[in-house]
Symmetry: C2
Subunit: 109 residues, 2 copies
DNA sequence: CATTGACATAACCATATCGTTATATAACAG
DNA sequence: CTGTTATATAACGATATGGTTATGTCAATG
């Protein structure tokens, strides 16, 4: 799915993850988000564009500013996708692991 | 962290996610993994390289073949990262949101 | 209405990514 | 050894990504 592409790609950048971490503490304007970073404001602006396209944030005009908020949908999608694989690192993994190792010679086409 | 970069970037590609889905059903050789796709074998080979670098799979020689398995570490890392944000789409989101707006906590990146 | 402040967009450059085809390597079969 | 099979690596081109500086837009303000 294209949406998952966009979401995981958005999460792959440390600047964007830091922006999300900041927004987890509450809304912020673009300027506030840009301040901690050594990169230019247009660069931040494009990161926000990517995050918005991935449904990870939402932006809305607030007078002269633009207020950014976390948006659950993108995060939820990524999390749901990963949940399918949760059994591979859960406590029951070892049992499953050994089970699969025994069947290694069997038909797996 | 750099590891999360690699893991999320690896998950951003639909071919690689399909490979993981296939491996969730059991080990497979490179050839078996390549078969369902319309792309060349070298392309698959590089996708596997990316997945391995992201700790999402493990490859080991098996005579003439190379057997690929899911590896939990990468998946676990990604899932742990997302877990921090789980509250933002849980039912208690509104209360936590207001709470966080006053008291802010740990950094998460 | 002219200016300033906050943000977005455009144009550009360097590097990364994903595909290709051609070739190398490693193990097995004869 | 020779050939075949399974996989990796190399070299290349197209497109994507992430940064920059310059400029445009819109709201607030004197």
């Amino acid at each position: 799915m294209k949406q998952l592409d966009a979401t995981f790609a958005a999460l792959a950048d440390p600047v964007r993850r830091a922006i999300l971490a900041r927004l987890a503490q509450g809304d912020a304007t673009v300027g506030e988000l840009a301040k901690p970073f050594a990169i230019s404001q247009p660069a931040i602006s494009r990161h926000l564009r990517v995050l918005e396209a991935a449904s990870l944030i939402r932006r809305e005009r607030d007078g002269q500013h633009r207020r950014c908020r976390l948006e659950a949908r993108g995060l939820e999608r990524a999390s749901e996708w990963l949940d399918f694989y949760r059994r591979f690192w859960s406590d029951s993994f070892d049992r499953l692991d050994k089970h699969l190792k025994r069947k290694t010679g069997a038909s797996h086409d």
